[in-house]
Amino acid sequence: MNQANFRRLLARNSYLFALLLLIVVVLINYSRQDNLFDPSVLNRNIRVFLPLAILAVGQAIVIIGGGIDLSVGAMVSLCNALLVTWITPETAGGDILLAIGLVALVGMAAGLLNGIAVAYLRLQPIVTTYATSFIFAGLALTILPRPGGQLPSDMTGLYRRLIEVEAFANIPIIQDISILREIPPAFIVIAIILLLWAFLRQTRLVQYIYASGDNAEAAYTTGIPVQRIRLGTYVISGFFAAMAALALTMSLGSGSPTSGDAMTLDSIVAVVLGGTRLRGGQGGIAGAMMGVVILGVIRNIISFYDVPTWSQTLVDALIILIALAGPGFVRYVSDLIRRYRLQGGRAA
């Protein structure tokens, strides 16, 4: 395959490698874990992946728009702290929604701060969001000095229990496919995000995010309000961080002032694994979500393949490294072959 075609194929389907990789790791996992596709096991897995998956969506959007957000983890911590402070086991339904709405606003406000600093004060995204992460982490610690809090059990139950689709129970083929009868709620969230994205992808807003990330100068001279778009991507990221915090809080049922800190770098790795380049203007959120699942499944593999205790960290890192290197390796080899052919069999 020549390079131009290869590049085009990748550009059109940036997540191609991620998809391939996802299938491979899932198969490897499945070969040792027969119950992997049981609805309840699937549910357990996917509900653990969901918070990071949501976070990675926001990260992907910022990265596509030409930025990067190192504060997402601290935002999750902050929103998690707020959620367990505002919602107690006694909180009533309406107040819960209000609290969630407020937390979404807090996330967006945090994103707004990042956005203003990056887009309007024109600060370098990496250091800016690194700096703001201290602010958010400090706020989280102020609000929730020590781990604690508890969500109402129907709220956590909502997140944890499979959704039984009664209507499907009698339809001949569907009733045999257990996963269609019993759907993990996290699946529905992912489906909604993907559908929403499929719609948004066709709007100007998202078109402009890609253009701004690809070539900001060109986008600006073409009449795109690049600064507003940039700002928007950070606000979106803040919103997704709040939603990730919601998922995390519902998943854990409680809060901790550092709950999201470790998610920042994971979210970036997931985005890259999903085929989005860090320079912006390309990629997508489906890939980022696949990246999250890949990272999670690697952990399963380590567990089910009985990797010796002292090798677990190494194996984990090596698999991730190999996964990251995959597309580059294929490209490198195809380049070599092309060079080799071109030089009439002489090595380059």
Partner: protein
């Protein structure tokens, strides 16, 4: 010829008349120090000054390789420094096993190992086109994994006494050796960046790789070499840090990861590459250390310190870290 001569003189005024970011950082460091004296009397004294420079020296030394990598551009960043610092210290600890005579040979070996890790980073980034951020992040995991695999958490060994004497303890007057070491490294880095072909090529590569290639620079070589050097300097940083802590632990370098990047940026080196200096990084390390010490001396709660640090960093980078405007 005469014109060229006439122009030569303009170098010096050019250098000082403009307030370059490293200079701003240095002035800021001094102002912060004096401010410390105003806020908490007793903060300004020779002892404290030496202490702060000494603590900054460790960060500064660890950030040396980071400076090179960031200058090399292409989103260059090295997140593996922390793990390599730890590895460097563990290797020194284990291999010297307290013997002064082994310090130099082991240092050589440690730096070689660091260079090897950096080399792999460089190769992955250049030939497999893995973005530096994730390549070095994954490498950090691999190094950490190797440490665990090999040591199984049992860190045997001992620090040679000579290392503590030469690095952490007062060497000449009240000034500890690490400060001299840092100054020496500063001079070496200046020479490397400004007075060697490699340095000039590094800037060229950082600004524009096509131009560099078409001017005969072997871009992949320069980039790979830079990451190798970063690994080597990080391992050296681990060695020096061991002279300070005396013993090793699995998370020794962890706390230097993001500060090593922050020091570079606060020192005015562009994250986009092609522009920067090590003396900027040195000033940056001083500034960060001072902020840290100042906040500490106030006895503020952790959460407040964190918020203040974030705000101060934001203010700092907005002084000169700004990017070009679209509309001129």
């Amino acid at each position: 010829m005469t014109t060229a001569k006439a122009k030569r003189g303009s170098f010096v005024p050019n250098f000082t008349s403009r307030l370059t970011p490293p200079l701003i950082a240095l002035i800021l460091a001094i102002v912060l120090f004096l401010l410390g004296g105003v806020i908490s009397p007793g903060f300004v004294n020779a002892n404290q000054a030496i202490n702060i420079v000494r603590l900054a020296a460790f960060l500064g030394i660890i950030a040396a390789g980071q400076t090179l990598v960031i200058i090399s551009g292409g989103e260059g960043i090295d997140l593996s420094v922390a793990s390599v610092v730890t590895l460097g210290a563990i290797l020194t600890f284990r291999l010297t096993d307290g013997q002064d005579a082994l310090i130099l040979p082991v240092l050589g070996l440690v730096m070689l190992v660091g260079a090897g890790i950096g080399l792999v980073n460089g190769l992955g980034i250049v030939f497999l086109r893995i973005p530096p951020l994730v390549m070095t992040l994954a490498m950090a995991g691999v190094v950490q994994g190797v440490i665990l695999q090999v040591t199984r958490g049992e860190l045997e060994g001992e620090t040679p006494d000579l290392m503590r004497t030469l690095i952490a303890q007062p060497l000449i007057g009240p000034i500890p050796g690490v400060i001299f070491l840092w100054i020496g490294l500063g001079i070496a880095m200046w020479l490397l960046l400004e007075r060697t072909p490699y340095g000039k090529m590094l800037f060229a590569v950082g600004i524009n790789r096509t131009t560099a290639m078409l001017s005969g620079v072997r871009v992949p070589l320069v980039v790979v070499l830079t990451y190798a050097m970063s690994g080597m300097l990080a391992a050296f940083g681990g060695f020096v840090l061991l002279g300070f802590t005396d013993i090793v632990f699995l998370n020794l370098g962890g706390r230097y990861l993001f500060p090593s990047i922050a020091a570079v940026v606060v020192g005015g080196t562009l994250l986009s590459g092609g522009k920067g200096s090590y003396w900027g990084t040195m000033s940056g390390a001083l500034v960060l250390q001072l902020i840290n010490s100042l906040l500490q001396a106030q006895g503020l709660p952790e959460a407040t310190q964190s918020i203040i640090l974030g705000v101060v960093l934001l203010v700092l980078i907005s002084i000169y870290g700004r990017q070009r405007a679209f509309r001129l």
